[in-house]
């Protein structure tokens, strides 16, 4: 299926955003999706970290794909990813200390984020650097889109703000449950239902 003359870099890029969205379609990388989406700023920082790690790891893995031994593959992936996650973690801690405290262990948890390992395995270890880079950016943007939609719903309903700006009228009673853990599960469950429903709506006239 996925051979060298499969999808072009542009197709891979577009595919990652909606048709193969890592969160809504592939159900990958769910820990950060739920944990850091109680406000938009944290979600954006997390997405930027994932973009950096995914891009770097994909490029490196694609460059060394000729040297990979099958049985040591996953270990090499994780060690590469861990290196870049350490860099991302230190950068966030140095320049955005408050955010680093807020994100806490979820930045290091990018190491075991299934999105990155899956992309390394499925795409980067078999494709040229350009394919891998385009794929990484596309997938990361899809991830950003998912995080942003969940975080927007949770922050607007839970604290009445969006990116710190007041959007709900002053009389809005904050739904505190939305910024607490149960709100994350409920939001993601309902959003998944919505995405599936839209998918069936679009497919029905065609078939």
């Amino acid at each position: 299926m996925r051979t060298e003359d499969g999808p072009t870099p542009l197709e891979r890029f577009i595919r990652g955003i909606l048709p193969e969205n890592p969160v809504f379609r592939q159900m990958l990388g769910l820990c950060p999706t739920l944990a850091v989406t109680n406000n938009v700023k944290a979600a954006l920082t997390m997405s930027a970290a994932v973009l950096f790690v995914l891009f770097s790891a994909n490029v490196i893995v694609s460059l060394i794909r000729g040297l990979l031994k099958p049985h040591l593959r996953i270990l090499v992936f994780t060690l590469t990813i861990a290196t870049f996650v350490t860099i991302a973690d230190r950068v966030i801690a140095a320049f955005m200390f408050g955010m680093s405290k807020q994100l806490g262990p979820y930045v290091p948890l990018i190491i075991v984020n299934c999105i990155i390992i899956a992309r390394c395995e499925v795409c980067a270890s078999r494709q040229s650097v350009w394919h891998a880079a385009a794929d990484a950016v596309g997938q990361a943007l899809g991830f950003t889109l998912a995080l942003l939609s969940i975080a927007s719903i949770r922050e607007v309903l839970g604290s009445g703000t969006w990116l710190g700006m007041r959007v709900m009228p002053g009389v809005w009673p904050d739904w505190v449950i939305m910024v607490l853990p149960p709100g994350a599960f409920l939001t993601l469950g309902l959003l998944l239902g919505l995405v599936n429903w839209l998918g069936t709506l679009r497919r029905r006239p065609a078939s």
């Binding site: 948890l109 607490l180 853990p181």
Partner: protein, 256 residues
């Protein structure tokens, strides 16, 4: 006494109040993927408990002796205190990945029954965030504290990890039980599969929020109990020491 209370509080906190799945959202992949049937869910839960305890032991040892700032082994080798905490993540993931491999081989060779029960889940656990999360929690309490008396020992780390595994098992087993019944329900087509599972998980998380504050209540009850008993025992000992060696025996007898 205080040590036992702290262990109990860590255990309750890890298993119920800050349940790894329902509060910290780690270990969601198996929580969704392997919670279709009760027996496989329980197998996955026990495998995670097993691996998480081993990983906690290894990561505590690594952090305490090698990685934390001014750790004894690195100081001994380098001749001055070093801070190797930049290597934390790489070493943790390396240790987890390799220990899972070794554990799998060992279990397959020496405990075939155990291997048949949860061997298939072992390789999957390498990329389970719950394991790394436990290591990171331990790291926070070993190398992130300034007060040397608050640094966690091996006991606290193992209790945290083991009861986090128990909490995971409880959550995934409950989920599997619910999903087995859910199969017979008429769920809207769009929500079938992951959607309804997340909504059920949300309601479960709501339920688990009811445990918030249990640790504080427990601590208050146990500590108050301890405080009210401790002075009395002291008083008895003081009285008896006044009357001599025989009194000491009497105090011991009275206490038992």
């Amino acid at each position: 006494m205080d040590y036992a209370v702290s262990l109990l509080l860590i255990a309750v906190g890890a298993a119920l109040i800050n349940n790894f799945v329902l509060h910290y959202f780690v270990g969601l992949c198996p929580f969704l993927g392997v919670s279709r049937r009760l027996d496989t869910a329980f197998g996955m839960g026990s495998a995670v408990t097993f691996v998480i305890s081993i990983a906690a032991f290894l990561s505590w040892t690594l952090t305490y002796f090698i990685l934390r700032p001014g750790a004894p082994l690195t100081t001994l080798i380098a001749g001055r205190p070093l801070d190797l905490s930049i290597l934390n993540y790489i070493l943790y993931i390396f240790v987890i990945a390799s220990s899972v491999q070794f554990v799998e081989m060992y279990v397959r060779k020496f405990f075939p029954h155990l291997y048949r029960a949860f061997g298939v889940y072992l390789p999957l656990i390498t990329t389970n965030c719950a394991i790394l999360f436990a290591c990171l929690e331990i790291m926070k309490h070993v190398s992130g504290v300034d007060d040397p008396s608050k640094v966690w020992g091996l006991g606290q780390s193992l209790v945290l990890a083991f009861f986090a595994g128990i909490g995971f098992t409880v959550a995934i087993s409950l989920m599997a039980g619910i999903r087995e019944d859910l199969d017979l329900c008429d769920v809207p087509a769009a929500l079938r599969g992951a959607g309804i599972t997340f909504i059920v998980a949300g309601i479960m998380a709501l339920g688990f929020m009811g445990f918030t504050g249990v640790d504080r209540g427990l601590e208050k009850a146990l500590r108050k109990d301890g405080h009210s008993r401790a002075p009395r025992r002291e008083a008895v000992v003081h009285q008896q020491t006044g009357t001599g060696a025989l009194g000491g025996e009497g105090a011991a007898g009275g206490r038992s």
